[in-house]
Symmetry: C2
């Protein structure tokens, strides 16, 4: 760690925790803090926690902080620095988070939707260094995304672009939390996926997954599915294959629409590894337009742990 | 018609005919020529026809021609002015059409994909004058589209963006010509639509449509469906409603992904009018994300007759 190297503060605002990091221009976290969000105690408490974390990081004078980047859920206006109605933050409304932080610390501050921040993080610090354009899909509790075209994030009319989770692959399909049907999130989002597995598990009593899940009476998680698949469990593998195929079908529509053929897959479920990526690739290649078939590339995200902090910090280094 | 007003030549390159027009800055066609494409006689013949048409228009010296715009099918590189493998042009390969025309006439020439040209036409001469961002969907033999964001066409990596026809609404759905399944083109494209109607017609012997179609032994066309619907035929109306709903579902995915909430509907099938537009609107509003619901707008295209010529000519007035 070189002291006095140019750094940014990255803040990953979540419903339970706020994660803070000092990150250098290579995307390395040099210092990290995690605080409770206190979202249930209202906006003032959350903002207080954010300020507290920044103060703590700034108290270490060994870093040349170039700016602060915040990745937030909900609708974010990059220009105004506002965060609107983030889910899991009751009574939040619309907060000028950018201005509040900038005013408090006199440091330039960028606020961005967390999914866009993850894509910019991948652009600045990850696989995107070698790519001009890609679509980032993040498979977690929800399914999010970000679109990078010619090294720039595509934000749409109000900064809400990239809602890949709510591409429907079947208008008569599974009911999604958003009110629509067949959204890819309703197949690939963690909770949906786990429920589908649970429902099918009784028909597959020979599955190691059944053993792992039932014996330990632990909650069924993507990690357990992954472990079973690694041990050669056919049912677990079929789950990952089906997931990859559905994601690939959704990405084929995305790719046809956007004319972007490289997909970066991140998020917890991406730990399903090669089986997942190969199935996304095969399904996508099968379904995209002819001119696109030769170009399809599926890559794993490079930012894994603390991708949220890194993505947020990258906003400072990204040329807006 | 004011002589000496600034004009552009717009060329709509189709598989059967090439249409040429002199168009003023308001999008009015002042002079028009239609020639055979002679696509079956090879590239040289097609290029000859294009040159012939331009020569004929230029022989009238009353217009101040600012440039030539060409809307072509297939993959078009705006930068290079190339047209690659347009369907219905056997043995075409890759032709530097822009350079050829520019060299021949010494007039600046823009070549663009015909779907993008239609969207730019709507931006410059039509509804887009009052809009910053919209998605144009053209319902014809195929289903095409173009994406305008902040008054600019969104072209993607290779200028192929906007393939709205190949957004799948059901991964297990109708087989599409492109090789995929459930593409909206496989529901809304003219031939698919007509086939679906024919297949259902025997179950609806009371339909006026049946009468119009069977008695006249004319080919069943969108126009006949439209006429029957106007006469209150329930089956015809249900066809248009179903079409609108499917298009609306596809556009909900598009809108979620792109964060663009205004849709302009053009092409022959858009003659289905208010019933079609209302059903697209209802379906889309039902399925988009909450933050988008209040913003959804469906508008009919303003450029109807000769939208191809007008769109191509608009390339000259559009700031690239």
């Amino acid at each position: 760690m070189r002291k006095n190297e140019k750094c940014a503060i990255g803040i990953d605002l979540g419903g339970t925790f706020v994660k803070f990091g000092i990150v250098n221009q290579s995307g390395k976290i040099l210092k990290k803090i995690i605080l409770e969000s206190k979202a249930d105690k209202g906006t003032t408490s959350v903002v207080k926690q954010i300020k507290k974390g920044i103060n703590e990081l700034l108290s270490d004078e060994g870093f040349k902080i170039q700016g602060i980047g915040i990745g937030a859920p909900g609708i974010v206006s990059l220009k105004k620095g506002t965060v609107e109605h983030p889910p899991n933050f009751p009574g939040w409304g619309i907060i000028h988070l950018g201005n509040i932080i900038k005013k408090e610390f006199g440091i330039k501050t960028f606020v961005e939707n967390d999914a866009n921040a993850a894509a910019i993080g991948e652009l600045m610090f990850g696989m995107g260094k070698y790519l001009k354009s890609f679509v980032m899909i993040t498979l977690g509790t929800g399914v999010g995304g970000g679109i990078i075209l010619n090294k720039k994030i595509y934000r749409g009319e109000f900064g809400a672009a990239g809602e890949i989770g709510h591409i429907s692959i079947d208008v008569n399909g599974a009911k999604c939390n958003c009110g629509s049907y067949g959204c890819i999130e309703a197949y690939a989002g963690n909770n949906y996926l786990i429920n589908r597995v649970k429902n099918k598990l009784n028909d597959n009593p020979e599955s190691k997954l059944f053993e792992l899940f039932a014996k330990n009476s632990e909650p069924l998680t993507p990690k357990i599915i992954s472990e079973a698949a690694e041990k050669g469990d056919k049912f677990a593998i079929s789950i990952i294959e089906e997931l990859g195929t559905n994601v690939g079908y959704a990405m084929a529509s995305v790719s046809n629409l956007l004319d972007v053929s490289t997909i970066i897959v991140g998020g917890g479920v991406s730990a399903f590894g090669k089986t997942l990526l190969d199935n996304i690739h095969a399904a996508m290649k099968e379904r995209v337009l002819l001119s696109m078939k030769g170009r399809v590339k599926i890559l794993p995200a490079k930012l894994k742990n603390e991708a949220g902090i890194k993505g947020a910090s990258s906003l400072v280094f990204y040329s807006h």
